[in-house]
C-alpha cells in the first residue's frame, strides 16, 4: 500500500474508530494534523477557546453519549492546559483519547520552544500514554488507545506525537490491530460469585443498593438491569453523585444521593443496613464519612471492574471484579432461574419511612429573596417535559442541583465528581450539546465557577449551540464560605466574589442572550424565558447570599452525625477534623 504521512494515518484511524467530533485548539506542533482534518468530510473539529475546555467538552460528549471523547491540542502549554481535564476524566472514569503535538523528535529534551514532557507530566493522571516515534506505528497505537480508553475501567489515554512523525511517511497497513496485545480486563462475574451475592440478598432483612458512576459507564443496559433487580428484590437504592440517573428518582425505592450532602434517609439506611450492595462505586471519602463508623453492621458486596477499587478504603465481604452491567444481568437471570422470592422488607421500609419524615431537604422559604434550592426546584419543574441534560460546575450549586434536580435516565447528569473541577460545566455542556443539538442542555453554575472557563461562551456562539447557563449568584465561593463558617468561625478569607462582571452584558458581548432574575416573583418567568429563547442564554439568578447546603456530614463525622440545618453549626472544629478535606 502507498505510504501516508503520520497526520493522514492518524485521521484515517479516527475515521475507522467512528469518531465524528474532536475538540481542540491548534498550535505549531499539531499543524500537520490540523491540515489533514481541514475540510475533512467526516470529522468535525470544534474549536474551543482554551485547551482545558477541550478536555471537559470531550468529557461532556463522552458522558452524554457513552462514546469516547477525542481531544487534539498542541505541545507545551496546549498539553499542560489539558492536564486538568485529563485528570478529571481519570478520576471519573471517562473514556477519552487526547492527542498532543510534540516538538520534532531530534529536539526532544533540548528545551525547545513549546516543549513539555507531556508523557512524563500525564503519566500518573491518565490510564495510559504513548510517545509515538514512528509513523508506521501510529495507526496501531491509535487503535490500541481507543481500546484501552473504552475497555475495563474507562479513562483517558494520551498520545504524544512529535511534529516530524506527523509529517514523515509510513506504511499504514502495518497496523491492523484493534486491541492491545495483553490488556484484557476481567469483565464477567463468575457464576459462583453471582450466586453468592444472591444468597446474601435473599436472606438480608435490611439491604440497600449503593450505586455509582460505573452503572452509567457500563451503558443503558446496566441501568435497566438495576431497575429490574430493584423491582425483584424490593430493596432501597441510593447513589453517589456520579451515579445519579441510573435509577429513576420517581421510584418509591429511590432514597436520594448518599454521603456528605446526601439525604438523611440514605445515610441512615447505609448506617443501619445489614447488607450493602455496592455497584460500580468506590467508597469515596465523600460517601463514607468517618470510615470506622461507616455502615458498621453490614455485610458488604462490592462489584467493580477495577480490582484496585476493592478493599481500598473499606474492607468488603464479597468482592467481585466485573463489569457491573454484566453482573446485574446475570444477577437478574439467576434470580429468575432459581425462582427466588422477594423477602418481606416491610419492617425495613417502616424504618426508612421514619427517616424520610425528617424531610432533610426542606429549606426555609423567603418572600424577598430567592432561595437557591427554590431556584433549582423551579428549574427542575419547568424543564421536566424536556428531559434536559444538566451539567454543573463545582460547589454549593452543584450539591443543590444533586439534591433538588431529579433524574430518571442515565447520561443526563454531567458533573465533576472525583476531581471537583470548577470550570467543568460550561465546556461539558458544549460537548453534550454537540452530541445532541436539539436537547435542552443547562449548565447549573455558580458565579465563581463559571468564570473559570467563561471564554467558552465564544465556542457556543461560533457553533450556534443553544446552551443555557443558569448561575446561582450569591457573590461568594459558597462552599468555601460554608466551610469557613463551619470550621473557622466565619472568617471569610478570600471567599467573597469581588469585582463580578455584569453577566448579562458579558453574555451579550459574546452574542448570548442575558437574563437577570432578582426577585422571587421573577423566577419562573425568567426560567421560562431561558427555555424559550433560541440560541445560548446566560441567566444571572441572584439568590440568597448566605444560604448553605444542608444536610451535611461534617468532615470526620459519621453518617449518623448529619447536620440537618444551619443552627447546628458551631463554627469550630478540632484539628483532626480540620485536617480532613
Amino acid at each position: 500500500m502507498a505510504e501516508k504521512s503520520g497526520a493522514d494515518i492518524l485521521v484515517d484511524t479516527l475515521v475507522d474508530q467512528g469518531v465524528e467530533v474532536i475538540f481542540g485548539y491548534p498550535g505549531g506542533a499539531v499543524l500537520p494534523i490540523y491540515d489533514a482534518i481541514f475540510e475533512h468530510p467526516k470529522i468535525r473539529h470544534i474549536l474551543v477557546r482554551h485547551e482545558q475546555a477541550a478536555t471537559h467538552a470531550a468529557e461532556g460528549y463522552a458522558r452524554a453519549t457513552g462514546k469516547p471523547g477525542v481531544v487534539l491540542v498542541t505541545s507545551g502549554p496546549g498539553a499542560t492546559n489539558a492536564v486538568t481535564g485529563i485528570t478529571d476524566a481519570f478520576m471519573d472514569s471517562i473514556p477519552m483519547v487526547v492527542i498532543t503535538g510534540q516538538v520534532p523528535t531530534p529536539l526532544i529534551g533540548s528545551d525547545a520552544f513549546q516543549e513539555a514532557d507531556t508523557v512524563g507530566i500525564t503519566r500518573h493522571c491518565c490510564k495510559h500514554n504513548y510517545l509515538v516515534k514512528d509513523p508506521a506505528k501510529l495507526g496501531a497505537v491509535m487503535h490500541e488507545a481507543f481500546f484501552i480508553a473504552t475497555h475495563g475501567r474507562p479513562g483517558p489515554v494520551v498520545i504524544d506525537i512529535p511534529k516530524d512523525v506527523q509529517v514523515a511517511k509510513g506504511d499504514p497497513s502495518a497496523a491492523p490491530v484493534s486491541s492491545h496485545k495483553s490488556y484484557r480486563p476481567k469483565t464477567s462475574a463468575r457464576t459462583d460469585e453471582v450466586d453468592a451475592a444472591l444468597d446474601l440478598i435473599a436472606k438480608a432483612d435490611a439491604p440497600i443498593f449503593y450505586t455509582g458512576g460505573g452503572i452509567i459507564n457500563s451503558g443503558p443496559e446496566a441501568s435497566a438491569s438495576l431497575r429490574r433487580i430493584a423491582e425483584l428484590t424490593g430493596a432501597p437504592v441510593t447513589s453517589t453523585l456520579m451515579g445519579l440517573g441510573a435509577f429513576p428518582a420517581t421510584s418509591p425505592q429511590w432514597m436520594g444521593m448518599l454521603g456528605m450532602h446526601g439525604t438523611y434517609e440514605a445515610n441512615m439506611a447505609m448506617n443501619r443496613a445489614d447488607l450493602v450492595i455496592c455497584l460500580g462505586a468506590r467508597f469515596d471519602d465523600r460517601v463514607t464519612g468517618r470510615l470506622d463508623a461507616f455502615s458498621p453492621d453490614s455485610t458488604k458486596i462490592h462489584v467493580d471492574i477495577d480490582r484496585s477499587s476493592i478493599n481500598k478504603t473499606v474492607a468488603v465481604d464479597l468482592p467481585i471484579v466485573a463489569d457491573v452491567g454484566d453482573f446485574l444481568e446475570a444477577l437478574c437471570a439467576h434470580w429468575e432461574e432459581r425462582q427466588m422470592e422477594r423477602r418481606d422488607l416491610s419492617e425495613w421500609w417502616a424504618r426508612i419511612k421514619g427517616w424520610r419524615a425528617t424531610e432533610c431537604l426542606a429549606y426555609p422559604e423567603h418572600d424577598k429573596l430567592i432561595m437557591p434550592q427554590r431556584a433549582i426546584e423551579n428549574l427542575f419543574n419547568a424543564t421536566r417535559g424536556h428531559n434536559p441534560i444538566i451539567t454543573t460546575e463545582v460547589g454549593q450549586h452543584q450539591m443543590w442541583a444533586a439534591q433538588h434536580f431529579h433524574f430518571d435516565d442515565p447520561n443526563k447528569w454531567l458533573t465533576s465528581g472525583g476531581l471537583g473541577t470548577m470550570g467543568y460545566g460550561l465546556p461539558a455542556a458544549i460537548g453534550a450539546q454537540i452530541a445532541f443539538p436539539d436537547a435542552l442542555v443547562i449548565d447549573i453554575a455558580g458565579e465563581a465557577s463559571i468564570q473559570m472557563n467563561i471564554q467558552e461562551l465564544a465556542t457556543a456562539t461560533q457553533y450556534r449551540l443553544p446552551v443555557k447557563i443558569f448561575i446561582l449568584n450569591n457573590e461568594y465561593m459558597g462552599m468555601v464560605r460554608q466551610w469557613q463558617e463551619l470550621t473557622y468561625e466565619s472568617r471569610y478569607s478570600s471567599s467573597y466574589s469581588d469585582a463580578l462582571p455584569d453577566f448579562v452584558k458579558l453574555g451579550e458581548a459574546y452574542g448570548w442572550t442575558g437574563i437577570r432574575i432578582e426577585k422571587p416573583e421573577e423566577l419562573d418567568a425568567g426560567i421560562d424565558a431561558m427555555i424559550n429563547t433560541d440560541g445560548p442564554v446566560i441567566v444571572d439568578c441572584r439568590v440568597a447570599k448566605l444560604a448553605n447546603c444542608f444536610p451535611m456530614i461534617p468532615s470526620g463525622a459519621a453518617h449518623t452525625e448529619m447536620l440537618l440545618q444551619a443552627d447546628e453549626v458551631s463554627g469550630k472544629m478540632d484539628d483532626e477534623a480540620k485536617a480532613l478535606v
Partner: protein
C-alpha cells in the same frame, strides 16, 4: 493532633511488564504518587526477544496496603502479572554487593579473613584497599557490610534484591 501508622510487613513482589519506554517511571511513580515505600527495585529484560521485563520490588506496608500495591500495579496497562513471593511461600532472594575497604595492617588482614568467612571474593586490590564482591540473601549482605564498617569501609554498591520461587513452577 498526631499522625499514626500501622505496623508494616516486608513483601517481595515480581512484576512482569512490557519492556517499553517509561515503564520504570510508571511503576516507580505509582509508588511515590500513592505514598508506598520501595526498599529496592531491580529491572532487566528476561525474554529471548527482549519484549518482557521482570521487575523485582521489595516493599513494606500493612497488609491492606500491600494488597492495594498489588492491585494498583496490576491495573497498569503494560503490566502482565504481579506475584507476591512473600505470600506465595518459599523463595530464593539474592542480592549482589561491591564493597570497597581501605586500610593497612591488622584491619586489612581482618577484612580479608571476614571476606573469606562470608565467601566474598576479591575483585580488585591495591596495597591499601580491596573491593569485595558478595552475593547472598539481603541480611547476609547487610551483616557483611556492618562488619566492614569496623575495618575501613569506603563505599558500597548494591544491586537490590532479585527473587524467584522454589520448586519447578513459575511464580
Amino acid at each position: 493532633m498526631h499522625i499514626t501508622e500501622t505496623a508494616p510487613e516486608r513483601h517481595v513482589l515480581t512484576v512482569t511488564v512490557d519492556n517499553e519506554a517509561g515503564i520504570l517511571a510508571r511503576i516507580a511513580g505509582m509508588f511515590t504518587a500513592r505514598g508506598y515505600n520501595i526498599e529496592s527495585l531491580t529491572v532487566a529484560d528476561v525474554t529471548e526477544d527482549h519484549a518482557i521485563s521482570r521487575i523485582t520490588i521489595v516493599t513494606n506496608g500493612p497488609p491492606h496496603v500491600i494488597e492495594q500495591i498489588i492491585a494498583q500495579l496490576d491495573r497498569l496497562v503494560p503490566v502482565h502479572k504481579v506475584a507476591d513471593l512473600t505470600d506465595i511461600g518459599p523463595h530464593v532472594q539474592r542480592e549482589l554487593a561491591l564493597v570497597k575497604v581501605a586500610g593497612v595492617g591488622e584491619h586489612r588482614i581482618e577484612a580479608l579473613r571476614l571476606a573469606e568467612v562470608y565467601r566474598a571474593s576479591v575483585v580488585d586490590a591495591t596495597t591499601e584497599s580491596f573491593i569485595f564482591e558478595i552475593t547472598g540473601a539481603p541480611d547476609k549482605i547487610q551483616s557483611f557490610i556492618d562488619l566492614m564498617r569496623q575495618v575501613g569501609l569506603v563505599e558500597v554498591g548494591r544491586t537490590g534484591v532479585v527473587a524467584i520461587v522454589r520448586g519447578k513452577e513459575a511464580s
